[in-house]
Symmetry: C2
Subunit: 458 residues, 2 copies
């Protein structure tokens, strides 16, 4: 007897799970299409070299690698890998299919990715990302559009309390410079800062010290963090407040003025101004310490949070250099990714799913009293299905009580009974389980009668 559980960190989705997932994917897709994004799909498996070196050291270690096949299998070498995100494959696609794609390409992609991460609440080793990305423009309009698209998607799902934190990768570098962190410590300092919202300032200060950041720089970062918190708590969220906060940071906190007025600060101002004209205007907040783990970001970075979930519902940003790694010439790009599983976890806990999802597998089940009736059951089922009804044929000639109990346990509202009398007369007895009523119809007329009853119920 073999093991029956799914692989670690992976899950089976039973019918009710799948319906919930499909519901959420459907709502998100409809919003993404309203923004003119077009669907794209890429293989689950990529050449290993396509993925390596794109996600930083921590990312590289979480990639699932696939053994070479055939005689090479014994070598233990890997040449393929499972997709780690949808962004690097997109960059590869842009480079490979450039002649077939429009100069400005907007795509959405809703597919699973795999990471050999430690499983936790809402964190799995196979999970779906729901991405939108726009390629070919450096305009802050793009940042605004992707923020608005994910914001509309979450609102369409019923979320009304999420926050989109926004920062700028280059501005974060400027902040580290202003705090006196030497450039060779930037990458390691960012890994520590990325954990700020998860572990808090005290732990991050310890980790910064462990990673070789000077005590003086840690004090500067810590001071700025205190200021930022004041801004954050005083100011209500929203694009206007974020702009005020951005300005205030330069005015109040001395070493920051050059950061705020630099290229990155200026770009972030334009991004907030653009977002201010969209449906996401009230959702955004400036977070000067938002870091985002992935190494390919170059400009604005974003992350969505709700209070009752550690970690984010999604994130994104600008990555103007990634396509160039495949194409040899730069293509500016910016995108946003929603995490399907995170959304589902919160929606389940908050009971946000609409009731009609919990429908039954069929409108009617066809039952026979003896095996000789089965051909008649199949024929009747064909008639009912041709009329558009969803129909199960109970396959065995079990006792009728057992058959009806089965239909009831599945929530199937009606059973069409074919006994020898019905078969001889060409009729069928349709029993409505909840009402405990039944009617006899000619077999050819049963579909119309059931459809009429369904219509009457609304």
């Amino acid at each position: 007897m073999a093991r029956t559980e799914p692989a670690r960190g992976m899950r089976d989705f039973l019918p009710e799970d799948v319906r919930r997932r499909e519901h959420v994917i459907g709502v998100i897709t409809a919003v993404y299409e309203r923004y003119g994004f077009e669907p794209l799909e890429t293989p689950a498996v990529e050449n290993l070299e396509t993925l390596l070196g794109k996600y930083g050291d921590e990312g590289n270690q979480l990639i699932f690698k696939i053994l070479k096949r055939g005689e090479h299998e014994a070598s233990g070498q890997a040449d393929l890998a499972l997709r780690y995100d949808l962004t690097v494959p997109l960059a590869r696609v842009i480079a490979h299919h450039q002649s077939r794609l429009p100069r400005l390409f907007r795509r959405y992609q809703i597919q699973p990715v795999w990471r050999a991460d430690r499983p936790a609440r809402g964190r799995f080793r196979e999970f779906y990302q729901c991405d939108v990305d726009a390629l070919g423009s450096t305009s802050p309009v793009v940042e605004a559009e992707v923020c608005a698209a994910v914001s509309d998607a979450l609102e369409a799902l019923g979320f009304d309390d999420f926050v989109i934190r926004v920062n700028h990768r280059q501005m974060l570098t400027d902040v580290l410079n202003a705090a006196g962190v030497t450039p060779d410590r930037h990458a390691t300092a960012l890994v520590a800062l990325d954990k700020l919202d998860k572990v808090g300032l005290a732990d991050v200060k310890g980790e910064l010290a462990d990673r070789g950041v000077s005590a003086e720089s840690i004090r500067a970062i810590s001071g700025l963090h205190e200021s930022a918190k004041v801004f954050g708590e005083n100011a209500p969220k929203g694009a206007e407040s974020s702009l005020t906060m951005l300005r205030g940071l330069g005015e109040t906190y001395d070493t920051m003025s050059s950061v705020v007025t630099g290229d990155a600060g200026e770009n972030l101002r334009l991004v907030f101004e653009a977002i201010g004209q969209t449906s996401a205007a009230s959702r955004v907040v400036y977070d000067p310490f938002l870091a985002r783990g992935l190494s390919y970001y170059t400009g604005a970075i974003m992350e969505i949070n709700v209070a009752d979930l550690a970690g984010s519902l999604g994130g994104g940003g600008r990555y103007d250099d990634l396509v160039g790694m495949f194409l040899g010439q730069p293509v500016p790009a910016c995108g946003f990714s929603l995490g399907l599983e995170r959304i589902l976890v919160v929606m389940a806990e908050r009971d946000m799913f609409p009731a009609p999802l919990h429908g039954s597998a069929a409108d009617v089940m066809v039952s026979v009293f003896e095996a000789a009736g089965s051909p008649h059951a199949l024929r009747l089922a064909g008639l009912l299905r041709a009329a558009g009804l969803r129909v199960i044929v109970y396959p065995d000639a079990d006792k009728i009580g057992k058959q009806i109990k089965y239909a009831d346990s599945l929530g199937i509202p009606r059973v069409a009974l074919l006994g020898s009398d019905e078969i001889a007369a060409g009729t069928v007895t349709v029993r409505t389980l909840a009402a405990r009523t039944q009617e006899i119809h000619p077999q050819e007329a049963a579909a119309a009668a059931i459809l009429e009853a369904l219509r009457r119920r609304g």
Copy 2:
């Protein structure tokens, strides 16, 4: 500059490809739901031991194996693997979640599988299977229902010329016994016979000899093959003709009479009788040499073919022992799998896709004459989207001619122009590209005007 092609045998799907795939999946799903099948999804990755030993030797060699992670990676050992089909994972799910599933469980599952096969026309290393399976009953009603479901699905897609070949795995064994093939040669003989429709009788005879089947047995098989061909050509296809052929085989061909009247022959007769009462009645044909490669089948086996495709559009059968390998107690099961890529290849070559699939990415594109107009463009886009329109904002202040050319190249029928005059007046100029006409509307009224124009066009 890195490689940009997808991994060998895998493909990227650009928007038009995805829309075609989604169309086919949608049609198949609707039919499967009409048969009361419920959706199930399983992880792409399974524990390696779950898959090994289920598909026969040829199958085992085509499984993509995943390296252990972390410090174990250097060992070159694999502990996980990519899903090879949807049937073995289903059997694992039935065993694992038995208490949460109904006694008779009918599920559909449309997901990719991976096989390290040699790529060919319609054969890829990542491909989607569209499966229906019914568990918990040995009744031939189940075989009839899964045949009818896939038959209806293909008809709904527009196919009218497919044939469902039907045989019985145990009857095939009986045939081999009747031909004097010793039991120890059965498995290897089946591998050769499975290629009959691909390579023809002459090659199969050679391969049978190579695999150690005696000359006498090969003559017997060859003789039966000739008889079967006569039956096949004389009789029109359909359940009735298949029954006639099945009877005729026993009467005409001496050593076959015990095969036809045995348990397997009797079961196959009941299967054809049941199919005869469904919408698949005219599609089936008895093929006494159909073998199906996978080793888990135990009863009726089926395969769908069209004339213009080597290989099958799908296949299936009964596998009453597979769940027991996980559960320790038998659960009868039978299913059918359609190959999405095969269907797409034939539909593309026959030009079977409905025209409305080739729609544009958006109903309208919003354009600005200068960057200062972008905030207005974003606000207008929000108004249009709120009314349900699909809208792209052109992100840059390129020359208007270039912007309109871009919209035209994407097939977007309308451009909403915001110049300084429009912005000052709170209006927008809506240009219809094909008609070369334009109208000025107040921005708040533009959505209603465009929707009205869309309605008028039908």
